[in-house]
Amino acid sequence: MTQSTGPGDAVAAVIEATALTKVYPGDVTALDGLTAAFAPGVTGLIGANGAGKSTLIKILLGLVTPTKGMAKVLGHDCVSDGERIRQVVGYMPEHDCLPPDVSATEFVTHMGRMTGLPATAARERAAESLRHVGLHEERYRQIGTYSTGMKQRVKLAQALVGDPRLLLLDEPTNGLDPAGRNAMLELIERIGTEFGISIVVASHLLGEIERICDHLVAIEGGRLLRADTIDSFTKASQLLVIEVEEGLAALREELTRRGLRPTAYQRSLLVPIGGDATYDTVRDSVADLGLPLSRMEQRRHRVEELFRDSDITGSDITGSDITGSDITGTGSTDADTTAEAADAR
């Protein structure tokens, strides 16, 4: 199973987990025999909240000892060699982790020192990291005055300051508005492709990170659901979400007339995407009717939908990637509602 991550076969995996199990006191099973390999490049770690993503990250950093099984990061054992791993791995936690009363420069410099950089190098690399994440003059201001987007960038900069070989990013787009999310994702993609740093992006929103990932590893209930290249995950049909401030019914008629198959969903329309022409048709329809368009974007999937897709395209998942047959299809009827709820966050 470890060799089932597609193109990663030829290259040594950056992360290998073998039968990884973590049971917390009180019989809470966070990971349940997880076996997966992460190839170099940008890998999405997909799972609903509570699927075991954060526990996996903590084990990989050598902060939590697995109950059973083993994990290796960049060839180092997570239990016995945690210190070596933490020297070459940058970690961006999900939650807020910034002191409000120091400047970004001071904070990232200090974190660089804590990664093992000498004082001068820490200052230089802090300035460079902050520049890479797009913080300029404002980096001398106290972090407490920053917007959420800027704070996320500082969190990324502190992970980057020690020149890591691998970045573990836990929900890096949390709390950001759509523009902020896009900017953050572009930044991550750039770090992955141009800086040559392998990245694991943990997220519960597949649709959000799929476009920047080379590979995906999906986990649920502490087990591997699927690990594959991005293409095999997302070939299932894509949806376009259209929201107009008024005239929803008229737009629906118009789109149907033009040969699309819109379905109403709450106060928006969902249209299956059949190529670039779909976008043009929608644009023209909205323009012809003179409607105030408030949103048009590709639909975000959630992990539940991934399972549903797996059901539909059952043939791709019969391989060794799947740990069991009991994990698919559950709860997918609510996927739309929950997906929207997650989007609204």
Partner: protein, 316 residues
């Protein structure tokens, strides 16, 4: 929203310079925290309390230097200095500054970032403890060194200087004892909460309340002895003209770090100057070993609590 802010296209440069080991990182953290204990690396406001506290503690030493210059004898001893001032100012200092070192990081939830660095979990509390002990030591010893400086500037002859030096050394060691214990207590209490006001309150209340308790008990227990030492004292016979403190009185001194310090000081052979001369507790005599044991137990308990606190924080 810097959504579309431009990223300068200077490319990414790898770092291939030296990387420091765990020990050096811990040292850097300790130094950073030591500076923070005096408000360095923070805003001007953060320096107010440490500065005032240090000045307040040094004032008697400066006054002493002037007094000695006019020909008076040295005003304060090196081992007790000015007891009530020390209790008060050190309480304020640790209550305000210990949260600065630990509660802040809890509040901003920055700890996971430390744990994700190439150090071990125990290194964080260790660095904080070393740093804060050092800061408390500065608060304790600088006034003594000023006192010493003022004294040797005004005495003549090698013998006099030597006698001052010999008197100073126990004072410095006692300062170390204060620093090690106060830092452990205050960091442990402050590490229990991320709310600075609560942390400060917890430390201040613990130190002042226990001290008050010990003082009240001591007073209550010493009253009958005082009466006995008066007119009734003569009837006790020539074998014991000055009755020692009762067991209850000795036990009363065990309830506060400050009275423990004083008991240990006297047990180690410090001057017994009587309650007016700087003693907080009556000479415990052989019972002093209990003072030392209780003090060590308190220190061990606080350090164990502090490390346990961070082991728990890492796993959560």
């Amino acid at each position: 929203m810097p959504a579309e802010s431009v990223i300068h296209d200077l490319g990414y440069r790898r770092y291939d310079g030296p990387r420091l080991g765990r020990g050096q990182i811990v040292r850097a953290l300790a130094w950073h925290s030591f500076r923070a204990a005096f408000g360095f690396g923070r805003g001007a406001k953060a320096k107010i309390v440490p500065a005032i506290a240090l000045i307040a503690l040094c004032l008697p030493a400066v006054i002493n230097a002037f007094a000695m210059a006019k020909g008076d004898a040295r005003q304060f001893t090196y081992d007790t200095y000015v007891p009530a001032l020390r209790v008060l100012i050190m309480t304020i200092f640790v209550a305000v500054q210990a949260p600065e070192l630990v509660s802040r990081d809890l509040r901003s939830r920055v700890l996971p970032l430390y744990f994700a660095r190439p150090i071990e979990t125990i290194d964080y509390p260790l660095a904080k403890y070393v740093a804060f002990s050092g800061a408390c030591l500065v608060m304790m010893e600088v006034p003594l060194l000023l006192l010493y400086g003022g004294a040797i500037a005004n005495v003549h002859g090698g013998a006099a200087v030597w006698s001052q030096t010999r008197a100073l050394i126990p004072g410095l060691l006692l300062g170390l004892m204060w620093a090690l214990v106060l830092a452990a207590i205050s960091l442990f209490l402050a590490s229990l909460t991320g709310r600075r006001a609560f942390a400060t309150g917890a430390v201040a209340i613990f130190l002042l309340l226990t001290w008050t308790l010990s003082m009240i008990l001591l007073q209550a227990e010493s009253a009958p002895i005082g009466a006995r030492a008066g007119p009734g004292g003569a009837s006790l016979g020539p074998a014991s003209p000055l009755p020692g403190p009762s067991l209850a009185e000795k036990v009363s001194g065990l309830f506060s770090p400050f009275t423990l310090f004083d008991g240990v000081r006297q047990w180690l052979g410090g001057l017994n100057l009587g309650t007016n001369g700087g003693d907080q507790v009556p000479d415990p005599g052989a019972f002093g070993v209990v003072y030392a044991v209780v003090l060590l137990a308190l220190l061990a308990l606080c350090l164990a609590g502090l490390t346990a606190r961070y082991r728990r924080a890492r796993n959560s």
